[in-house]
């Protein structure tokens, strides 16, 4: 584990070094991503131009959801977003090269790239978070601060797990990458708003099957001190880290099963 992290650090450091060689192009790229993601948030502001509250949530409260989900998503995109190159690796046969090296395939896939420009989206999430704080009254205490510190990594792990599990579709059909977008980009879109706007079946699917509600909604209820309009058990508000661990394990198992299938059916 420690060795794995060290190797990951080395692999990524080399990538980062080479990207920083083209400093101007990197800066432009990151700034562009930052600006582009602002148009995305502008949509939330425009929506609230029409209503003071959405399902009982103010614009700043929704911004809080948006920001925490956006930061978690940006991290997941940064760390595992390039896994979509899997379809190309499977088509060209370069995935086999990973199989003749003494490391796990998922580890090698994750360590194969780190696109720094994706930090632009991370920065956007931080700015939106600042905006959210200007209009919400949070009774900060140790518990809430701790929850904030925990929810972002947990959200990142949940997003990343969904991403990894979704990518496994490509082992069956390399054209299926678009399918994964429904869960990753779709998941991000959805977690930016309170889940009580969705109808019951979609909500259940999201809260329990694809655990997106644990990325921002449940922790936010606790931090913002809001009553759950759905009257779900309060315990759910504290379970994001556990859900994240479970999601990561599930994603790991799905990946293993997919690679095993690939190795017996042949690429």
């Amino acid at each position: 584990m420690v060795d794995g992290l060290r190797v990951y650090g080395r692999l990524i450091a080399a990538q980062v070094r080479s990207q920083l060689q083209y400093r101007a192009s990197f800066a432009l790229d990151a700034a562009g991503t930052f600006l582009i993601s602002f148009l995305d948030f502008l949509a939330v502001l425009v929506l609230f131009h029409n209503v003071p509250r959405l399902a009982g949530w103010s614009v700043h409260e929704v911004a809080f959801l948006y920001a925490t989900s956006s930061v978690a998503f940006a991290l997941a995109d940064l760390i595992v977003g390039h896994l979509e190159s899997l379809s190309q690796r499977l088509r060209t046969g370069t995935f086999d090269i990973l199989l003749v090296r003494p490391r796990g395939t998922l580890f090698q896939m994750i360590a194969s790239e780190l696109a720094l420009r994706r930090l632009g989206r991370f920065a956007q999430g931080c700015v939106v978070f600042g905006y959210a704080l200007t209009g919400t009254h949070i009774d900060w205490d140790v518990g809430r601060a701790l929850m904030l510190v925990v929810m972002v990594p947990a959200g990142f792990v949940i997003f990343a797990s969904v991403w990894v599990a979704g990518m496994c579709v490509m082992f069956w059909t390399t054209e299926g990458g678009e399918f994964t977008n429904a869960f990753t980009y779709g998941g991000q879109f959805l977690t930016q708003y309170p889940i009580d706007v969705y109808s019951a079946w979609l909500r259940r699917f999201l809260a329990y099957l694809v655990p997106m509600a644990f990325v921002s909604y449940f922790p936010a209820l606790y931090i913002l001190g809001k009553d759950d309009p759905l009257g779900l058990p309060r315990l759910l508000q504290f379970s994001s880290p556990l859900v994240a661990v479970a999601a990561a394990c599930a994603a790991g198992l799905v990946w293993r099963a997919a690679v095993r299938r690939y190795r017996s059916a042949g690429g």
């Binding site: 080395r10 080399a14 990538q15 060209t92 090296r101 003494p102 194969s112 190795r263 017996s264």
Partner: protein, 311 residues
């Protein structure tokens, strides 16, 4: 080093767009062979014969359907990671180097992936830099390398962790004569000096003649030859072809020791055994020659002939 007994691989293929039918294809059908430590052998066969499927099973990429495999005493499909430390592999045109990074960075990264100690890595890299003359492009991003430079880089990458066994798939394809020569010399030396076992998959008869003392030939998933190159040629590939361009179109030539296989205008193809010089002299005595060339039988053809002769 390698023990294979009754190795079989079946694939399920689905056919048809709407009503999909399952069809089982046997890519490798119960092949058996042994390779001793320090051998350098060629593994050949036409495309789709089961070559790469075999190599994939030996390296642990694919799980066999049936049969016994041991490579370096390990079962590849179950002990893939342990095996990976002891073998090196290079798959022809598939790039295993990091495309955007300078070549030396790829080596550095592989050092960490394989956990090669720093001093061993330095010594090993120094040797490759010298033998393969890597210094001029060590700091160049891989995407800017010429094919020959890249292949030398790939060879180094496959060897940095000092494997006992090397799987090479078409290592000289697309290289110019000089680069090809250099790679062949390098492989021969590696095998001779370091005792590295090499399994070479190739279509290039030159590679085989220069390097391999033993050949495995596979076709339609079945091993149809296991033995020396000289024996193989004596039995199936003794005939060469003399292609002559005459001054004018002529009926098929009647020359002793050869038979005409094909005629196209003034150009004729003659199959023969033995000395080309004698045959050329005989043809020249009969007709005015504009140009000529001697073609070696290619391996595809030899394989075809072995197969059609019913093994």
């Amino acid at each position: 080093m390698i023990e294979v007994d009754g190795l079989t691989k079946e694939f399920v293929v689905r056919e048809g767009r709407f009503r999909r039918r399952r069809r089982v294809v046997e890519a490798v059908r119960g092949i058996s062979f042994r390779v001793e430590r320090g051998e350098l052998l060629g593994y050949l066969g036409p495309n789709g014969a089961g070559k790469s499927t075999t190599v994939k099973m030996l390296t642990g990429i694919l799980v066999p359907t049936a049969g016994y495999v041991r490579v370096a005493g390990l079962e590849p499909s179950r002990q893939r990671i342990q095996l990976a430390r002891r073998i090196g592999a290079m798959f022809g045109q598939r790039v295993q180097l990091w495309w955007d990074l300078p070549l030396v960075e790829s080596f550095e990264l592989l050092r960490h992936i394989y956990r090669v100690p720093a001093d061993r890595y330095r010594a090993s890299l120094a040797r490759f830099r010298e033998v393969l003359d890597l210094d001029p492009f060590l700091q160049t991003p891989v995407r800017q390398l010429s094919l020959g430079q890249r292949i030398r880089g790939e060879l180094t990458a496959a060897m940095l962790h000092e494997p006992e066994l090397l799987f090479l798939d078409e290592p000289t394809i697309g290289l110019d004569v000089v680069a090809r020569q250099r790679v062949r010399e390098f492989l021969a030396e590696l095998n001779r000096e370091r005792g590295v076992t090499v399994l070479l998959t190739t279509h290039d008869l030159g590679d085989i003649e220069r390097l391999c003392s033993r050949l495995l030939v596979i076709d339609h998933g079945v091993l149809i030859w296991d033995g020396g190159l000289a024996d193989l040629k004596a039995r199936y590939g003794g005939e060469r072809t003399l292609i002559v361009d005459l001054e004018e179109p002529a009926p098929p030539l009647l020359v002793e020791g050869a038979r005409v296989e094909r005629v196209e205008g003034p150009r004729q193809w003659l199959r023969f055994r033995g000395s080309a010089a004698e045959l050329i002299a005989r043809v020249a005595a009969q007709e005015r020659l504009i140009d000529l060339q001697v073609a070696e039988p290619d391996i595809e053809e030899i394989v075809r002939r072995i197969y059609s002769s019913g093994r």
